[in-house]
Symmetry: none
Subunit: 199 residues, 4 copies
DNA sequence: TGCTAATCGAGACGGTACGTCTAGTCTTTTT
DNA sequence: AAAAAGACTAGACGTACCGTCTCGATTAGCA
């Protein structure tokens, strides 16, 4: 039959075809951006990628797995290092909000969180991912400890958790356009407390 | 529980039958508890409630609306008043975690958040609900202001948001069993800050 | 063809919609005629009938059931009564061959036989149908008995079976264009035997 | 059963590996016997034979070709020679029914007939095969002619066709357990006719 | 008191997506 | 050159729900 315009990808032997994998990941992202989580189905991805459903199921056992890989593929948030913790955290949140707003990452991560509420595999993956991010973001705090900016007994993972929680809730309730002043205030509360600002 | 005897509910004239409404809400909750969000479908609820699907759609235009009503029906978290803000906030979180753990509310709210990621109506409802809760929980903070415990320029809604964010992320990543010490530390960070604890 | 304008068929209440049933049977026949048994799939029938797959499965549990109903719907072969058995049998075979050739019945019955080789339900239905036809066709022979044309101890069902076998094999091996002389000879062999034709 | 030891067959150079061919034919037969035509797929045969699908497609261009070779491999029906045509034909049918009943041949041939209803190649092969068998079986009749038992103008191919038709229909409707008396009667009808048994 | 209108359970309707299976083709690697 | 292996696109399988529709029964309130 040999469709002229769009020669379908063929097998490249008894091993995974990276073209297919790439096309599938790209299609998944595109579907997610264009139709949202509601329109995100394996069928839609397969159609978009001109791939067979079994090819998707072969490499990603669940929607969650596909979502996770799409997310990790597009994630590249700079962790700023301004020399001050407060500025670092504000920068981190600002960068994250912007990244979620301006790339597909926001859609993808929202979908992942949603999927995790009904799929155990996704739940595990998300919990695992969140744990990893906690220590990753915690390093911002650790740097401040090393500088002597904050006491050494501060629980950096917990701080990262608090900051991430704030970001998550904004993502999940469509408030990624939060203004900088508010973000700054939130970070200030965590930094200096709301009671008796002793300075 | 409280399922009718065999004789199905009939119309009671040209108005809503409260028995049906009740049976549907109970069925929705039961389905959610037993099968989770993954198994939560209008069909399943209709089956369980011995109701026709159109009866459900007549009164709740979407899954989200039904979820929301189920949630609000079961929500009854005590807002403690111990006389100290820190203790109040710790108590609030402890109560909330326990309520989510031990009633169906946790499942229901998780489902609601998930649904909000793909359904615009649910998203609006959730945003609206979150806004309402922010000012509600903010009253704990307002009380502390009135007592002079914290400065009057503290943004109580933002504090409530931070606290709620922490709770949401725990719910959504299956960490409702967080130990009290950690909760207490998180509240302490918000109360007194992580930098230079000046007391 | 003759499909309605866009307005799709709707439910007519909690009972079978005869329009849908009719459209499905017609579509099944059309698909069978146009694409043969190889192209006969429930999906194809559903597409052609503008019907949902579940609607088909609701009323016809298997491909076999659908085939059987399509066949019985189109079956109308005249059983001739010329006053002579030999002429009757020749006429029966000629009519049957023509009917199979010129309507969709041939395709349908071939498909049914094929389906019966892999589907137990179809096998039962086919065996049952064949049994029924045997006694039906046997009545041609019974009439001859009643006329005193053949001895009363002739097994009419067996004669019908022999004649039908001859027809089946021709259908299944694409020999429906058998010329009349051969058909006539075959019937003559059964009528008067091949050994020592005593007349 | 009859599966190779674990070490897979390897290529034996630039020519067909007879071990593979044999394993494939055996596997095809085994699959057919165990799962019937419904479960007979190239994939299943390849799995069973520990062969690659392309190896099968290389040597048998279609399911039909494979079926045909499996059938011809297992076919060995004695054509009796008792000195009397009637006895010969009865013996032929009895042997054939028994062979179909007690070996895999019945399943295989049924599958072949079924396949021929959707696959043109199979249809041609089957028609061709049937033609060949007709003249082969016709030799029983020719012998009787040579003995002067029947007139020389009897159409032996047509007689063979009638007899074979009777066998086919029994096979295809699961009536291989037909009792001998009935078989004998059917042959008698063909031999001596049903009208005016002149002896 | 009889009519109208809205509601109820019920379930069929056209659809979409699920996750699995097979078809038939392709390439690489090994012999 | 042929075999094994297994990936590839394509599409059918039979099932679960979606949200809409129409039914027939039921009952309250209006006429």
């Amino acid at each position: 039959m040999a469709e002229d315009a769009d020669p379908a990808r063929k097998s490249i032997g008894a091993r995974r075809n990276p073209d297919s994998a790439g096309a599938i990941l790209e299609a998944a992202e595109a579907v997610l951006v264009e139709a949202g989580y509601a329109g995100f189905s394996i069928e839609a991805v397969a159609r978009r990628a001109r791939a067979g459903k079994p090819t998707i199921y072969r490499w990603w056992p669940s929607k969650a797995a596909l979502l996770l890989e799409v997310y990790q593929r597009g994630k590249r948030v700079d962790v700023p290092d301004t020399g001050g913790l407060e500025e670092d955290l504000v920068g981190f949140l600002k960068n994250l909000f912007q990244h979620w707003r301006e790339t597909s990452s926001g859609s993808v991560f929202r979908s992942l969180v949603a999927e995790a509420q009904s799929d155990d595999a996704a739940a595990l993956a998300l919990a695992d991912y969140a744990l990893g991010r906690r220590s990753h973001t915690g390093q911002i705090v650790e740097r401040a400890k090393a500088r002597g900016e904050i006491p050494p007994d501060v629980d950096s993972a917990l701080v990262a958790d608090l900051i991430a929680s704030y970001a998550w809730k904004h993502l999940l309730t469509n408030r990624l356009d939060e203004d900088e002043a508010t973000i700054r205030k939130a970070v200030a509360y965590v930094m200096r407390g709301i009671a008796a600002p002793c300075r």
